[in-house]
């Protein structure tokens, strides 16, 4: 089963766990409903659509409210250290959590106590803290955008906010940044880099890239990176190898974007609604 861990942008949202579902345009977990317009709920919304398309069970989620103070994230980290050793997830995707090195190490230790090691995917704040902790190599897949890739490539930056200017320069080619991230041990086993052209890479270099259909405005739409992480997570959990899963996710995300005829003002919920159509088109070849 796929497990997704993250936060909801609402201070009083309780710490909840369970299987998620969609009720209309909202995400349902326990007795709570959440809009799927951004953050981890957007990732879950995309994952639910993908699971439906592939005939897979709905993901299991651990969620908590956090508006950036870190209080909710700390409660969730602590809960994970208690819950994960007895869990049997095949895949775990970590997403928006406050980057806290201490708690990241505790969670990794808890995963080490699981009977079977799951495939570990990290994006957003949890990817940041995995790199900050020097533990990037413990993960199977990171899903950075190009700016975050520059952060991974900068061996001195503890957060993207401190990425050195020369790393952010537009002349820096993605393959060079990928190589530098691996050189300094700051990349997962695979990197799925989201951008104008999407890349899958490992320590040996670029394995695949997808650049069509191309919708330049997707870069401006908040949540389009979250959706691709949700898609690849479901594909991996469905049994695809990481390379096939990444290529499928990159293509479906682009097709869903194309089908909603986006402008820079489009909201990600509109793209998520087109994921089933995108899967059908991809499966039809």
């Amino acid at each position: 089963m796929l497990c997704i861990v993250g936060t909801v942008p609402c201070a009083d949202f309780p710490l909840v766990e369970g299987t998620v579902s969609l009720r209309g345009e909202q995400l349902h977990i326990g007795t709570s409903l959440v809009d799927i317009n951004r953050g981890t709920p957007a990732l879950l919304g995309a994952a639910l659509k993908a699971a439906e398309a592939l005939g897979r069970p709905a993901p299991y989620a651990y969620l908590v409210g956090d508006t950036g103070t870190g209080a909710g994230s700390r409660r969730l980290y602590r809960h994970l250290t208690e819950a994960l050793p007895a869990a049997d997830f095949k895949t775990i995707t970590f997403h928006y959590l406050q980057p806290i090195v201490y708690w990241h190490q505790k969670v990794l230790a808890a995963i080490g106590k699981m009977a079977f090691r799951p495939c570990l995917i990290a994006d957003a704040g949890f990817m940041y803290v995995a790199k900050m902790s020097g533990e990037a190599g413990a993960y199977d897949l990171f899903t950075p955008d190009v700016g975050e890739l520059a952060f991974l490539a900068d061996e001195e930056a503890p957060h993207p906010f401190y990425t050195r200017g020369f790393m952010l320069h537009e002349d820096n080619r993605v393959p060079d940044l990928i190589a530098r991230a691996y050189l300094h041990g700051n990349a997962a086993r695979y990197l799925l880099v989201k951008g104008e052209r999407d890349y899958l890479a490992d320590a040996g270099g670029i394995l695949a890239s997808v650049d069509s259909p191309s919708e330049e405005v997707l870069e401006a739409i908040g949540g389009t990176g979250d959706t691709i992480t949700g898609l690849v997570s479901v594909c991996i959990d469905a049994g695809m190898d990481i390379q096939a899963a990444a290529i499928a996710a990159m293509r479906v995300n682009r097709l869903a974007g194309r089908h909603c005829r986006p402008t820079p003002a489009t909201q990600v919920a509109d793209i998520i609604a087109h994921i089933p159509q995108a899967f059908r088109e991809m499966q039809a070849g």
């Binding site: 936060t7 957003a124 949890f126 940041y128 906010f161």
Partner: protein
């Protein structure tokens, strides 16, 4: 860049990172980034020469900022912060170069829309209505909260990220927000 610039000192002093000057400065360490942002607002309003920087590795915990200040002013600054209920956890002399926050912006013009990126954060504006239509990037939990608070509002209506943000991503969004204001007023 106004957010991080020294207010009273000359630019030459602010930009000087030689070891000779480093020993004359210290850093204020706080419990969390929210307190750093509050303290920065307070000290800048009071006219102190401070700037927000990255902490040295030995005190780094995760999503961190510290305030660099003239060490000679320590007593007055700590007194003011304590009076306002924001006492720092500790003050430490600066003995090595601190991490500089990002200061490069990337601007993309989509015709009616303008997207400004600072570090890992992007803000997109409808130039005709001056409405914030999207916020993307980032990984700290206040990013979705900031998006919910700002998207759909005009620049005049929306809170600034520094008012409601708590993390380095929120801080990066503040830089994108300020650059957007600058681009729109240019």
């Amino acid at each position: 860049m106004a957010l991080f610039g020294f207010k009273k000192n000359s630019n030459a002093e602010a930009d000087n990172s030689s070891s000779e000057n480093q020993v004359e400065r210290g850093i204020l360490v706080f419990e969390n980034t929210s307190e750093v942002i509050q303290a920065e607002n307070l000290l800048k309003k009071a006219g102190w020469s401070i700037r927000v920087m990255g902490p040295p590795p030995e005190i780094r915990q995760g999503c961190d900022l510290v305030i660099e200040f003239p060490l000679i002013e320590q007593l007055d600054i700590v007194r003011l912060l304590t009076e306002k209920g924001l006492p720092p956890l500790k003050t430490v002399p600066v003995t090595s170069p601190l991490l500089q926050p990002v200061d490069i912006f990337q601007v993309k013009d989509f015709g009616r829309y303008l997207m400004v990126r600072a570090a890992n954060m992007k803000l997109t504006l409808d130039k005709e209505t001056r409405t914030i239509v999207n916020i993307s990037g980032g990984g700290c939990p206040d990013v979705p909260y900031l998006a919910a608070s700002m998207v759909g509002k005009t620049l005049a209506e929306a809170p600034s990220p520094r008012e409601v943000g708590h993390t380095l991503c929120g801080y990066a969004l503040q830089l994108a927000y300020e650059e957007t204001l600058r681009q729109c007023c240019a």
